[in-house]
């Protein structure tokens, strides 16, 4: 799985740390790190929670364009 740079960019744009975002969505920092690195495929519930905190849509953060 490729890295999710969109989540990382959106998080950085809101000046949030991995720990800060993780606390807000109710997961551990390691899980946020795994999502950004593409090591973990989050559930739709967690994706929505991340989108809500970062004020983005699911398309913005999690949709991968076909090459």
């Amino acid at each position: 799985m490729s890295k999710n740079l969109k989540v990382k960019a959106a998080r950085a744009a809101m000046d949030l740390t991995q720990q800060g975002l993780a606390d807000r969505v109710g997961v551990t920092r390691q899980t946020m790190n795994a999502i950004e690195k593409g090591d973990y495929n989050p559930s739709i519930r967690l994706c929505i929670a991340i989108c809500r905190v970062l004020h983005q849509t699911l398309n913005d953060l999690f949709w991968e364009e076909e090459e």
Binding site: G26, T28, Q30, T31, P42
Partner: protein, 136 residues
Amino acid sequence: MNMDERQIQIRGRIFFHTMAGLIIVLLCAAFIQDFGIYDIVNKIGFSDFLISIVMLASAYASCALLFKDAYFGMHSQQQMTFFMIFFFIITIIDDVLFVSDRLRGETLTMIIAASLVMVNAISISFLCMRRRQNRN
């Protein structure tokens, strides 16, 4: 904070692997005993063998959970430090007892070897975890 979805998923996977491994080892042991390849019951002892296998399985599960950040009950840095110190003390006691036993010329049993492997493996895993967290 409870475990998050990734940690629950990892725990399930690791417990499954541990249980599957345990079943395979027990079946192999049963065949080895039945075919007379090695007399586990008389040479090691039935209960000693079972306890040792469970210890090794729990060592694997603990180390795997630690490396995947899904170890039980570690919701904060303080709790991790507590667990780490607790395991270090147990490891030191176990290692000292092992060395004193060897100096007295006592034989190394499977259960002692398994307990040594278990506590040392968990302590080293804690150490690696801590170093990785400090690096991040």
